[in-house]
Amino acid sequence: MVVPDPKTVNAVVELCTDAPLRLDSGAEMGPVTVAYQTQGTLNASRSNVVLVCHALTLDQYMRGPHPVTGRPGWWEDMVGPGKVIDTTRFFVVCANVLGGCMGTSGPKDINPATGKPWGLDFPVITIRDMIRVQALLLDHLGIENIFCVIGGSMGAMQALQWAVSYPERVGAAVVIAGSWRHSAQNIAFNEVARQAIMADPDWRGGDYLNQGTRPAHGLAVARMTAHITYLSEPALHRKFGRKLQDREQLSYGFEADFQVESYLRHQGASFVRRFDANSLLYITRAMDYFDLSDEYGGVLANAFTRTKTRFCIVSFSSDWLYPTTDSRAIVRALNAAAANVSFVEVDTDKGHDAFLLDEPAFSDTLSGFLESIARRAGLPPKLKGPSDARGDDPQAPLAVTPVRDSQPEGTGP
């Protein structure tokens, strides 16, 4: 069990209570519940905000324990006192995305109009809708400017959308293993995931929560497929090879003979315990609809005209889900717009998920970038090592009073 840092706050707030949120689809929603985590302390000038945008199946629990799994947070190695995203100097915010299933409004929540779970009555959302909700959350927290927005994978899309939708609010953006639009292959894999869920008879046309079933098999298969795309062929083979699982010889049947089969089944089964199937449909749809150049006549560079944001783009050499060519297209567009951009392709065989793993070349790059922009912004210097980082915050803390009325415990399926 991981003990939460005293400066870690998990909170839930209800937004859009007065005026509904207008979505890209034209639908209106309100109120919208947002569950989020903060670490560190907002400084007096409110200039130390790092907004972390999470990936498709992750959530606001950068730091654990995760209320459903009890496990450490997904970015605990990266975010914390003295770590790369140092919570002794930054106020780090991460919110569960709109359509998610860890406390922010999503298809498993109650539709106020019917008193029942939304299911497929939940409006289709976009990456830009997710950003709108995050912007409302920051407004609620009294935060105007983001020192740096950071995201990997779907989080990278959000970071880009932030920089494009709110250029005046975003000082810097770190875009990791991302893309500016979903490719045909990206859409194809998402469609496989959705079809796996919808082919499960227990999905019940999306109405499973009302009918007391759960499309666990479909959701598990969706996860197994997706999980393969997060890894790389060399990494998968290095880890499992053709090793057999708990047996000396082939079974000549359809048991999980191979370790890799057993591993995938485990991935599928544990995912089902923490994720909602309809949420996966909605969020993958939002990703498929994402094309940053759409609003700009198909010319990505025009999305960044006159941007003042400093960009750091990172790709991983073995990532075949969002390959380096996608990141290079972003870099090209930023160059054409004369933006301030740095770009690194990290040489690794760990695949797309490298940003969640121990990859020193990546963490050094992120650390160097944050350090340089912090220096430029006049933030106090980083303390050395986690052990030295427990002292008082060098800047006068400003009390933020998030709504703490509900700790999102056991809100998962």
Partner: protein, 212 residues
């Protein structure tokens, strides 16, 4: 010709001369910027708005940590993306001879900047000529330290070769400086025969805009 005064500072000798030619507050692209040494120095000393292009991941990481905006890429493929006159100055230091398509690189360089500063080892230097003529060996020296089978320098040229290419491409040479073995600027006049014989390195300021 008046040579720019060499700068004092904690950067490599050959970069100092180039650094001295960049005016205060300029927009600068350094192609093959290594660890960002020159750009960081220029940002600090002359408040330039700098960008870098560098091939090696280690170089890019070091430059990013210095606060320099650098993209991982190379001169042959990644200059196409920049719009015309995107920079006041583009620098290509000791890199031209290692590119695959020097002519295209040069064309891009003068396209995307109002002035380009290009430096390269002069293959016409008397030591190179001596090694070939009397020893029958490919030249190896301080500026070109590699044996023929391991050298990244695949497009070596002499100072005069380079001037011919500029003339073919309609590129205006605003300034030409030859550095001798001690790093001192040596005389450059007429056809540049003297500089081509005694210069170890050549530094040129180029522009595609005639009459500036």
């Amino acid at each position: 010709m008046i040579f720019p005064k060499r700068l004092k500072g904690p950067i490599r000798d050959d970069l100092q001369l180039i650094g001295s030619m960049i005016p205060h507050g300029a927009r600068v692209l350094d192609v093959g910027c290594g660890n960002g040494e020159l750009l960081a120095w220029l940002a600090h000393e002359k408040q330039v708005d700098g960008r870098g292009v560098e091939l090696s991941m280690a170089g890019v990481r070091a430059a990013v940590a210095r606060g320099v905006a650098v993209i991982q890429g190379d001169a042959d493929t990644d200059l196409d993306d920049y719009p015309d006159d995107a920079f006041d100055y583009a620098i290509l230091s000791q890199t031209l001879q290692a590119t695959e398509r020097p002519r295209e690189v040069l064309g891009n360089l003068v396209r995307i900047s109002r002035r380009s500063i290009v430096s390269f080892p002069n293959f016409g230097n008397w030591r190179s000529r001596f090694q070939l003529m009397f020893r029958g060996r490919m030249p190896v020296g301080d500026c070109m330290p590699h044996e023929w089978w391991q050298t990244p320098n695949i497009h070596l040229c002499t100072t005069r070769d380079f001037l011919d290419l500029c003339s073919t491409m309609g590129i205006v040479v605003e300034k030409a400086i030859a550095l001798d073995a001690r790093g001192q600027a040596c005389s450059y006049s007429g056809q540049g025969r003297f500089a081509n014989l005694f210069g170890v390195q050549s530094v040129f300021v180029l522009t595609r805009h005639a009459g500036r």
